[in-house]
């Protein structure tokens, strides 16, 4: 079945097809349609789930954590300020090894009040231990929710996942989306049944006081799970392709085989950059694109393999780590640092607060980078009016 869906409704459909059992959410622009549709789907009985209309995002995540601890499949969605309010509980879901899945609509942080897209909200949660998937279209949003449960609930992983989409550019933009058949989704994603859960028949205490003689190992295990998750994302992405005809990896590449100039980006800027690559190719530049889809765990090996072969690379960030540089830029450079042969990598910051990033902007910034020998600073600002 094909439907015309906005990105937010693609999240709702992904959750519905995943047969989530508990939803707890609080409204925030630009996330509201996600939970509005889910309320309807729960109310009319299409989805057998409990919807807890909590009084804050902090409580939303706490309720998802409680539900997940019983072995139920839990879902929520939020954005920006809401995600920031959840911060403490994001750590709790990871430390508790609870496979909650959440949609986050990338919105710039206040003040000043704003609702347009930027990645600083989700990237500020980088070190919580949540896996993060940055989507480029609404089909990927829907598919990624289903895949996320499969990965998160894998016993070797047991970590929560954040499905990230750009405010308005995806959240409120209608696209044709193929809705997978429920039967096939059920085949792909069996019910969640963890070996350890809250259960009066087999009582356990979860999260009790742990001293320096135990905590360290628990953190080591989270990192091990993250490493394992790289394989699980790849395997389940392949399996998804076999069942549904759309394969997903940690990264996506476009025209990189003979490329000597590489654009690296994420989310919808990456899909715009795909067109820019064609334009640059027409102009005689051997351009290619690397889209980072899964940001945590970071696909260092995949990034290295692609970047090593080019003469020059540019990372386009719609985010900034104040006092340093673009965040994807830092991650890409870190992945390359110990390589013997590595090209110069340029870092562009653009589109903050939802300012439009067009094909011609990306072509222009690429041509600018192509003229330069090496990066003179960690940030090349594009489009800022100063």
């Amino acid at each position: 079945m094909r439907k015309v869906l906005m990105g937010n409704h693609a999240l709702s459909w992904g959750a519905t097809l995943s047969r989530v059992q508990v939803i707890a959410a609080y409204p925030i622009t630009p996330q509201t349609q996600v939970v509005e549709l889910l309320s309807e789907i729960c109310a009319d009985g299409t989805l057998d789930a409990k919807f807890i209309k909590v009084e804050s995002e902090h409580s939303a995540m706490a309720a998802c954590i409680g539900a997940s601890a019983t072995g139920a499949r839990a879902f929520t969605a939020t954005s920006a300020q809401g995600l920031a309010l959840m911060h403490e509980m994001l750590h709790w879901a990871v430390g508790g090894r609870l496979p909650v899945v959440m949609g986050n609509i990338n919105r710039a942080m206040a003040p000043p009040w704003t609702i347009w897209t930027e990645q600083n909200d989700s990237l500020s949660q980088r070190d919580t231990g949540w896996m993060q998937v940055y989507c480029q279209n609404n089909q990927e949003v829907l598919d990624s929710v289903i895949q996320a449960y499969k990965v998160s609930e894998n016993q070797k992983v047991l970590l929560p996942t954040m499905i990230v989409l750009d405010a308005f550019v995806l959240s409120h933009t209608m696209e044709v989306v193929e809705i997978p058949e429920q039967e096939k989704v059920d085949e792909y994603l069996p019910p969640y049944n963890p070996p350890y859960k809250l259960d009066p028949k087999e009582p356990h205490a979860f999260g009790g006081l742990t001293g320096p003689d135990g905590y360290f190992e628990l953190r080591y295990m989270i990192q091990e799970a993250m490493e394992e998750a790289k394989n699980v994302w790849k395997e389940t992405g392949k399996e998804f392709g076999e069942l549904f005809g759309r394969e997903y990896g940690l990264i996506e590449t476009y025209r990189v085989d003979d490329a000597d100039f590489l654009i690296i980006s994420s989310a919808t800027i990456a899909s715009t950059a795909r067109v820019a690559v064609d334009v640059l190719r027409d102009k005689g530049v051997k351009a290619g694109l690397l889209r980072v889809r899964v940001f945590r765990p970071f696909p260092s090996e995949e990034v290295r393999d692609v970047v090593k072969g080019v003469k020059k690379a540019v990372v386009i960030d719609r985010n900034i780590s104040f006092g340093a540089s673009g965040i994807f830029y830092q991650e890409v450079k870190a992945a390359l640092y110990n390589e013997e042969h590595k090209p110069p990598v340029f870092g562009i910051i653009t589109g903050l607060g939802g300012r439009d990033v067009r094909v011609e902007d990306i072509v222009e910034m690429s041509e600018d980078v192509l003229k330069r020998e090496k990066p003179e600073s960690d940030i090349i600002w594009k489009g800022v009016r100063v």
Partner: protein, 295 residues
């Protein structure tokens, strides 16, 4: 010979080896609560003394499942736990949020209010020792007038009366509210059993003496929990739907508050005038309470 009978179940669901201080009211509260609720119970604790009392990982002194959660999330986590159990067909589990006064009166009141307003099907228990005892006796919204704590030193003791949490909960019109004292275990067990049979949000407030925090002798815990009731400082109540207030134990001849205060080091600095002010406060609150009680 007449057979001795007790209304308190003999079954124990709290084992020895827990880490409570001597004379801890909160430990007694848990023991009685579980006796009444039984094994088909699931607990969550926010940060509070019980985060420690239960025992360090991997030990637990409880024979029921337990989820440790963040300070302000006792109610919201419990709401999620209940929804999870319901979806898995375990609809008869007593889901209990078990929190101290800091996690209830202060940082957790938003989540508690949300759960109560939604009438989530949970039992919320606040064991009230009237300050942040687990972090070392800092004042909370529950600290009584004139009490010493480490953040309300003798030179500047607590200058506000205790927050009227029961009134706040009653305003939510939840089906059941009760106040209990560890000095009256029969009353306590009866109320927990009653709470268990009711659907929706049930709130139980336990006055819970704390020897290190109140600067009292461990052997005086029961005496203090009894005096709190007999002085009318902590009336034993049941409230149905926020409207029908019932006194569980009338206190016809109240003991002067001084008898309660003088056993506690946290009140050692009080002047005669302070005691008088506290007595007047208690008398006034009792009158207000009497106006709500259904005769």
């Amino acid at each position: 010979m007449k057979e001795l009978r007790t209304t308190i179940p003999i079954e124990e669901y709290m084992g020895p080896g827990h880490l409570a201080c001597q004379g801890c009211g909160a430990a007694l509260a848990m023991r009685y609560a579980l006796k009444a609720l039984g094994p088909n119970t699931s607990m969550d604790f926010p940060a509070c003394c019980w985060s420690v009392i239960d025992g360090p990982f991997p030990h637990s002194s409880l024979q029921v499942p337990l989820f440790h959660t963040a300070f302000e999330t006792a109610a919201s986590t419990a709401a999620g736990v209940k929804a999870g159990y319901d979806m898995l067909g375990k609809t008869d589990v007593n889901v209990v949020a078990w929190a101290g006064d800091g996690g209830t009166y202060d940082i957790g009141i938003q989540a508690l209010s949300g759960a109560a307003e939604r009438n989530d099907d949970i039992i919320y228990v606040c064991y009230d020792n009237e300050a942040y005892m687990n972090t070392g006796i800092q004042r909370s919204g529950s600290t009584p007038l004139k009490a010493w704590t480490t953040t309300t030193p003798v030179k500047h003791p607590e200058d506000r009366p205790k927050k009227r949490l029961v009134d706040i909960m009653a305003a939510h019109r939840i089906p059941y509210i009760a106040t209990v004292s560890v000095a009256y275990p029969e009353d306590m067990v009866r109320k927990f059993k009653k709470a268990k049979e009711i659907k929706g949000t049930r709130f139980i407030l336990v006055i819970s003496p704390c020897p290190p925090g109140w600067k009292t002798r461990p052997e005086d815990t029961i005496k203090l929990a009894r005096l709190a009731v007999q002085t009318r400082i902590f009336p034993l109540l049941e409230i149905y739907n926020g409207l029908e207030w019932k006194l569980s134990m009338d206190v016809k001849k109240p003991v002067p508050v001084l008898e309660y205060l003088k056993l506690q080091g946290r009140f050692r600095h009080l002047t005669e005038e302070d005691v008088k002010m506290i007595q007047e406060n208690v008398d006034r609150e009792w009158e207000i309470l009497m106006s709500k009680i259904k005769k």
